[in-house]
């Protein structure tokens, strides 16, 4: 159960108050291990910001928040200030704690300071770049020195290019790394849309684990931090056909420290085939994963109305485990899913879904409900 409250000008000074939190209860009932009941109250936002308008180029924010203009710095418990220069560029800094990325978002172990500069080529911000530096301490010990860069470019209508990069700087004290700078992450993407007739997207990403004292990831072992990395490149596109259908294709390749593989998907979408405001999708797919080679087909049907939508999915896949010896390494999987989104009245939304995964000798069920009210 969660709620978000956002108020503009709550005290007549043009500021913004933002509160967002959730209460979660988890009941774990698993074979072989103890049952567990877990209650979490999590605060995602509690902040007040002022300035940063055309009347006041200096923006300040205090509380728990993402740094405006540089969310890559992560959630902060503290204070941030940014100032828009006459040129339209932005310079900012922040100081505060870093909540841990666990269900409680506990704060107090990690402290960070950061500064950033954001450059805009023109008032419409068709080309922007940003660079940030962040230094962190974990329980009082120096932890991370990282530079973060980001670029967005929309050269002409229909084109969108985006990139970001994390460059960690290590010392001899960092476990699993050699002293000096190292690229931790790179994300590059380019999208082109030809006025709704066809589209193309290219993506390249590179990831490896940084060496951190802070528990940011799921228990990476020292040798994992030292050698694990992943390159991934993918190309996807779609083309509208004469009959109104959409042809969709995707291909990708990945390579990590041990293996390489890829995936592909070819599909077609029919609009309004059986009824108006509906979409039928058919697709063939294949994926060569680290442990599993999967091939199959998928059918989806969706219908949209003024008050909501519903959709159905059926997927069949043949899965072959690559590391499993013997001849029992293949199993078949059927997935069925239905979901409903409904807005029974203004500002009320209900979303319900049910999913069943049928395997050779077992079945797994997943149910989901989300109900929200905004005013």
């Amino acid at each position: 159960m969660g709620g978000e409250y956002w108020a503009e000008n709550p005290w007549g000074r043009g500021g913004e108050l933002h509160i967002d939190g959730e209460w979660n209860r988890l009941d774990w009932n698993l074979p072989f291990v103890d049952d567990e009941i877990d209650n979490n109250l999590r605060l995602d936002r509690l902040s007040y910001a002022w300035g940063g308008t055309r009347f006041d180029p200096t923006r300040q924010e205090v509380g728990r928040f993402l740094v405006s203009g540089m969310p890559e710095l992560g959630l902060i418990d503290g204070y941030a200030v940014s100032h828009r220069l006459p040129s339209g560029n932005l310079v900012g800094a922040s100081i505060g704690g870093q909540p841990e990325p666990n269900p409680d978002q506990e704060s107090g172990k990690d402290l960070q300071i950061s500064a950033f500069y954001r450059w805009a080529y023109d008032p419409m911000e068709r080309l922007t770049g940003a660079i940030a530096y962040q230094k962190t301490w974990h329980n009082g010990t120096q932890d991370r020195d990282v530079f973060i860069g980001r670029m967005d470019w929309m050269p002409v209508r229909g084109w969108q290019m985006h990139g970001n990069a994390w460059l960690d700087v290590y010392t001899v004290d960092d476990v699993g790394k050699t002293a000096g700078p190292e690229l931790t992450r790179l994300y590059l993407t380019a999208n082109k849309d030809w006025d709704g007739e066809r589209g193309l997207r290219a993506l390249y990403r590179f990831d490896q684990f940084p060496s951190l004292l802070r528990q940011e990831f799921q228990l990476p072992a020292p040798d994992t931090v030292e050698r694990d990395h992943q390159h991934r490149v993918s190309l996807s596109g779609w083309q509208r056909l004469d009959g109104g259908q959409r042809l969709i294709a995707r291909a990708g390749l990945w390579q990590d420290e041990d293996d390489m593989g890829g995936d592909g998907e070819l599909g077609i979408e029919y609009q309004d085939l059986f009824q108006s405001d509906s979409r039928l999708g058919l697709a063939l797919f294949d994926s060569q994963g680290e442990f599993t080679n999967m091939a199959g087909f998928r059918a989806t049907y969706a219908h949209y109305t003024a008050v909501g939508n519903w959709d159905l999915l059926y997927e069949f896949a043949r899965n072959a485990e690559t590391g499993f010896p013997g001849n029992a390494d293949t199993f078949y999987q059927h997935r069925l899913r239905g979901s409903l989104g409904w807005s029974p009245a203004a500002h009320w939304n209900l979303s319900v879904s049910a999913e069943e995964v049928l395997l050779d000798d077992s079945a797994n069920t997943l149910l989901g409900v989300q109900f929200d009210w905004s005013f």
Binding site: D34, D38, L43, V62, P71, M154, Y187, G289, Q370
Partner: protein
């Protein structure tokens, strides 16, 4: 018989401290200040252009506040501006996008990121509509999308909670995960007594004996 363990981890001390800090800082800023005229972006015009609207303000505004609109207020945003408001955007408050934090032309050109902060911290790229619809933030098609990774979600993994592997997914963080089975199944390994995997040194390469459909029916082969 299984033991039941109840853990309540509701922490209030730091909430109170943070709230107090927030209120003190907010009060400190409530001094009178002189309003100033436009400091930047003059060329991009008014926050909410009204120059083509009728002169009679009461056609849309009622009461003593400019923020209150008539109950039957209607505005064909697509016809008047060329920008369609779909899904939840059709019911959004005008000031969420048209405000004095910047020109709406710039917000609109940037797509979702123009108005919505990136809770994924830049890790998932700028194409929000890959996972979210305009009607709801609830993500869709995650299992299908995972087929484009090193780790297609097959068997039990197709219905597992994202949080089982992606630490911090509840707050939008989908950071890289080591694909070795034990990185997510360390607790299962520690609890296994028949046979005692740790005692036998069976602590990695689970996929040599187990399929991702169940921990039962393992195929034991000599290594």
């Amino acid at each position: 018989m299984k033991d039941n363990k109840r853990r309540n981890r509701i922490r209030t001390g730091w909430l109170v401290a943070l709230g107090s800090y927030l209120l003190i800082a907010a009060c400190a800023t409530l001094g009178p200040r002189d309003p100033r005229l436009h400091g930047w972006w003059k060329g991009l015009g008014l926050v909410l252009p009204h120059d083509s609207f009728p002169g009679d303000c009461s056609l849309c505004h009622v009461g003593g506040s400019w923020n209150t609109l008539v109950e039957d207020f209607e505005f064909d945003h697509e016809a008047r501006t060329g920008v369609a408001l779909n899904g939840a955007h059709a019911k959004a408050q005008c000031l969420l996008c048209h405000n004095d934090r910047g020109p709406v032309q710039v917000f609109q050109a940037q797509g979702c990121a123009g108005c919505h902060e990136d809770i994924h911290l830049g890790y998932l790229g700028p194409n929000c509509t890959d996972c979210h619809r305009e009607t709801s933030w609830r993500p869709f098609g995650q299992v299908e999308r995972h087929a484009g990774t090193r780790f297609p979600l097959v068997g039990r993994h197709a219905t597992a909670s994202c949080r089982a592997c992606h630490l911090g997914n509840e707050v939008g963080r989908f950071l890289p995960v080591d694909t070795a089975c034990v990185s997510c199944h360390r607790r299962d390994l520690a609890a296994t007594q028949n046979p005692n995997h740790n005692g036998l040194g069976w602590v990695d390469h689970c996929d040599r004996c187990h399929l991702p459909t169940t921990w039962h029916q393992a195929q034991v082969v000599p290594f």
